[in-house]
Every structure is written in structure tokens, then in C-alpha cells.
Amino acid sequence: MTAFAKDLEPSQESRDLVPTASGSLEHPQLGDVPLGSVRAFDRGDVPNAAIQDANRSATEPILAAPELDLDTVASLQWAPSPRVLPLPPVRFTTRSRFLPLQKWEGTVLSVRAESFVARLVDKTSDAVDAEAELPLSDVTVDDLALVQPGAVFYWTVGYSMDLSGSRRRVAEMRFRRLPVWTKRDLEQARSAADRTIEDLGWNE
């Protein structure tokens, strides 16, 4: 459990809320509490369920709790009595999560009619560099103009998990937008070169 999750001490009222498969929270006394886009959970109490991935067992470590913010935590600690509608302001986001399995940093070596060849540096392990021919059709339209020899891109393969808990295998390729040389950059390079030549005595 992360420090963040460990620090979370839900009120008794909050603990009483049990999520149901219909997308609502059920309170022992108050019954169903519809919550619109609440993700369905099958186990655990609200705070724990909220910070756990629905696809993980209760014994698996919790890696992150992106659905809860500090306001949520404060609200849970200072929840009102059960007589007041015990709606904890738990914010269930609609964002899906991404679990990366493999990351590469690529450099374009050559561009062909319908594909490009790139050297891939493994950023997940210390495997030796790979060289791959990739289809240009996998590059987003916005990035196509960037596919030139020397261009750098990041390629990630992983699982995208949506709110229902289902996951899709996805590959994402993003090309790096490069900054431009400024007059100052070039002047600095020139003056550094002049200093180096002077210090090495190469101008004699």
C-alpha cells in the first residue's frame, strides 16, 4: 500500500457505503445512492475500492490512487453523521488507466514509401538496441511530417484499462517536437569553440 493510501482513514459512515454492480453506492440504512458515472466495484469498502484497480485482487499492492484527491481524503475524514445524506465527495473520474509493458526511444534511420526504419533503444530493460521497420500508417497524421532521418520518437506498448475494468492492448507512438537553434545558442557554440581552440593551442 502506498503512503498515500495508508494515510487514508475513512469515517465509519464512508466505510458503510458499499458499491454495487449497478453503479451506485448502497448504505445499510439509506439504501441505494445513485452516483451517475461511479465505477462498479464488487468488493471492499468505498475508499479502498476507490483506490484499487478493479482488476487486482485485494492482496495485490496498490500502485497509485489517481481517482482520489486531497479534498476527497479530507472529506472522508470529516464525514457528517449518518442522519445527513452521507454522500462522500469521492470523485470517480472517467479517465482510463494505462499500464505500460514496453517502452522504446526510437531514432529514424531512413524513410521509405510506406514505412520507416528506426533504431529502438529499450527503455524498459537493458536489452541491446533493436532495429525495426514500422509502417507509416501507424504514425498519427499530425506527426507524419516529423518522420525524417534523425527524428526521435517514443513508442510504448501496454494495456489501456477503461472504467469497466476491461483492458485493451495498445501501442502509442509520439514523435518529439524539436526546439530550434537560436542566435544565442549558435553564438555560445562559436565562443565555446574559440575558447577550446585557444586553450588547446590549435590556433598557433
Binding site: 534511420l109 536489452a127 538496441d129 532495429e131 501507424d138 530550434v180 537553434w181 565555446a192 577550446t196 581552440i197
Partner: protein
């Protein structure tokens, strides 16, 4: 033409034994994209030409090799040569220059131009996403500045027909003479023009900074130890211009009159690095040829035809590794499925590192002894 006998090819079994004081050694390392030569000139004196990285240690293979031989680079290496600044010949070179503190550093005059140093300083201004020869040169410049402060040996500039090093005869080992046969003045002039064009312009994207693509400022070296000699062809190519490339060397009447028995084949055995006159004029017969492959993008050298050409000149031809890419190791099953669906082809970018070692007693009439380690193979395997 003598036929090669099995006794001449020994699968290397004991790499850790240093050569005897009266033995010449030429060790060539090549991982597929990269080249490094480590040469014993006799009497415990060594030189290193170019550098490539040992993936296991992350440093130059030259330093790892000297380490297993228990040879101190600080005291035993007399010269470090950067034959040219292409990425496949420079990786880890800054570490070599730093470790070989008593060695002369030998480069071409192209690198002392303001434009070349500016390129290096521009490349070093920010962390580039991938390295190139120029970023390694930027690191070498910093080491050279440290060496200058410590009053260590300076840089020597290689040009055609220049004696770079002369070690008098000692302990029965004949005089050692180390000569550069290139680059020609014309090649240097053209290179300077090309370097100037590579300097980034204002508002252009900060792409990887490269070095001139041509190989014509490569330093070809001739090592003479008494009557023995070794020719190291670097990446020099044959050009139409007679003032440049191999033609300039072959036509030069002032070059040392000698024929070498041992040849580091130029430019990874490519057709453009091969002139029949190299074999006829500069090499003895029989001769021993060693080379490294070059595998990068769409290029894989030597081709089968290149290998056949070389094998016609000598059956004693050996390559540090065959220019074939290995399949990458298997990854997570989901990643493998994605690769199968997405990628048109994927291979390890570099074949395994190999090491060809040739040794011979100086002055003896014996043949060169060949040892092949790791991925090194007889070149004939490529022609099959």
C-alpha cells in the same frame, strides 16, 4: 594461391594470454556497428585505432581487452588514433583517450578547424537524444583540455606520408615506424567545406548533429616493425578524383616502399573500399585480411559479392562477425503480439561482438597465427 589449412585457424581459447615481447599482434573487434583495433608493436608497446563499446561493460572494448591481458593503458599504449569521426568508429573513444594518458593522440587536421570544434560545442550544448561521432568528439575535446593542463602528450595531425611515431630498436626488436598514408590535402579541403555546411542555422530544428558522410579523410596507417608491416585501411574509399581516396595513395610515388602481409580491409569490405591495386601493390602474397561488418538501417556490409571479391585475393580472410542481424530476445507475450501485428520487421541492431586476433613472431618466417573469438568467422562463410 595457397589453400587455407585448418591448422591456420584456431578457435580462440585463451584470450587472456598477452603476446610475447617479440610478437606482433593485431586484434580487431567488431560488434556489427563499430570497429576497434588494438595492436601490439613489440616490447610491450601498443596502439589503439578507433573504438567501439563492449555492451557488457559499457566502455571501450579496447580497455576491456588490455585489462584482461593485464596491460596498463596508461603506460603501454603509445598512440591512440581516431581514424575518422563516424559514429561506428568513435564510441567510447573519450574513455580511451583519458585512460591512455601517455599516448600520442592522432587525428586529421580537419578536427582542428573552427567549424568542426563549433559543431562539437553545438552538439554538446544540450543532451542530444542519440549520440553521433561529433558528440563523442565533444567529450574527447574535454579530455584533451584536461591533458593539456596536465602537460600530457599533444595531438599529432595525420596527413599523407607522415611519420607519426618512431621507436628506436630496443631489446632485439627492430625499429618501429608508424606512418599515415592519408588523408590527402585535397580530401581535407573538401571535408572542411562539408563541415561548414553542417553547422546549424538559426531557427533550424535541433536535430542530431552529424559529421561529413564521406570517408575520404580517414587515416590509412602503415606499421613497420623491421621487415614486418601491417596496413590498416580504415574506411577509406576509392573515388573518381585522383587527388583523393585510395587513388591518391596508390599513385603517390613518395609513399614508403613496402608490402604488408596483414591488411585491415578498408570500409568493411565494400566494393567502394576495394581497389585491385591495393592487393597488387601494397600487400604481399600470401596475405592475411581482417575486417568488421557494418550493419545499420538498410545497409549490411560486406555483401556476399564483396566477400567473394576479398576471398579471391586471399583465403586467409576473417571477419569479426557476420553482417547478419540476430532476432531480439522474446519480450512479454502481449508485447510480442503487438510487434507481430505492427512491425514489418525487427532485429537486434547489432550482431554479437567478435574478435579476430593475429599474432606472429617478429622477423620469423612463420605464418600469422589466427584466433577467432566469439562471433568472429572466416569470411568464406559469408560466400557459402
Amino acid at each position: 594461391m595457397p589453400r587455407i589449412g585448418l591448422s591456420k585457424i584456431l578457435a580462440g581459447t585463451n584470450r587472456t594470454t598477452a603476446p610475447l615481447a617479440d610478437e606482433l599482434e593485431l586484434s580487431l573487434f567488431g560488434p556489427g556497428y563499430g570497429e576497434c583495433l588494438v595492436v601490439h608493436m613489440g616490447n610491450g608497446d601498443w596502439f589503439i585505432t578507433d573504438s567501439c563499446i563492449n555492451q557488457e561493460s559499457g566502455q571501450s572494448i579496447a580497455l576491456d581487452y588490455l585489462d584482461i591481458l593485464k596491460v596498463s593503458p596508461a603506460t603501454s599504449v603509445k598512440a591512440v588514433i581516431a581514424s575518422h569521426w563516424h559514429d561506428d568508429h568513435t564510441r567510447g573513444l573519450a574513455g580511451v583517450v583519458k585512460a591512455c594518458s601517455k599516448a600520442s593522440i592522432i587525428c586529421t587536421e580537419a578536427v582542428k578547424s573552427r567549424d568542426f570544434v563549433t559543431l562539437a560545442r553545438a552538439a554538446g550544448q544540450r543532451a542530444m537524444m542519440s549520440t553521433s561521432g561529433i558528440t563523442e568528439f565533444a567529450k574527447v575535446l574535454d579530455v584533451l583540455l584536461e591533458r593539456k593542463k596536465a602537460k600530457l602528450p599533444d595531438v599529432s595531425w595525420a596527413t599523407s606520408n607522415k611519420t607519426l611515431l618512431r621507436i628506436p630498436s630496443t631489446n632485439g626488436i627492430p625499429e618501429i615506424v608508424f606512418t599515415s598514408l592519408s588523408p590527402s590535402d585535397a580530401a581535407l579541403t573538401r571535408s572542411n567545406l562539408e563541415i561548414a555546411r553542417l553547422i546549424p542555422t538559426e531557427s533550424s530544428e535541433k536535430r542530431r548533429i552529424g559529421v561529413p558522410k564521406t570517408n575520404n579523410t580517414s587515416i590509412v596507417l602503415l606499421l613497420q616493425v623491421g621487415a614486418e608491416s601491417i596496413l590498416l585501411g580504415s574506411d577509406l574509399e576509392v573515388t573518381a578524383d585522383k587527388t583523393d581516396g585510395w587513388t591518391a595513395i596508390l599513385d603517390d610515388k613518395a609513399k614508403p616502399v613496402t608490402q604488408s602481409a596483414c591488411y585491415k580491409v578498408a570500409h568493411h569490405g565494400s566494393e567502394t573500399g576495394n581497389d585491385p591495386r591495393i592487393w597488387a601493390d601494397l600487400l604481399t602474397n600470401p596475405r592475411w585480411a581482417v575486417l568488421t561488418p557494418f550493419v545499420n538501417g538498410d545497409v549490411a556490409l560486406p555483401t556476399k559479392q564483396d566477400a567473394q571479391n576479398i576471398c579471391e585475393h586471399t583465403p586467409y580472410s576473417f571477419i569479426a562477425s557476420l553482417p547478419r542481424r540476430a532476432k531480439p530476445k522474446r519480450r512479454d507475450a502481449a508485447v510480442e503480439r503487438t510487434l507481430k501485428e505492427t512491425v514489418l520487421s525487427i532485429t537486434n541492431s547489432e550482431p554479437q561482438m567478435g574478435h579476430v586476433r593475429l599474432r606472429k613472431q617478429i622477423g620469423a618466417s612463420e605464418d600469422w597465427r589466427v584466433e577467432l573469438f566469439d562471433a568472429a568467422r572466416p569470411l568464406g562463410e559469408l560466400t557459402a
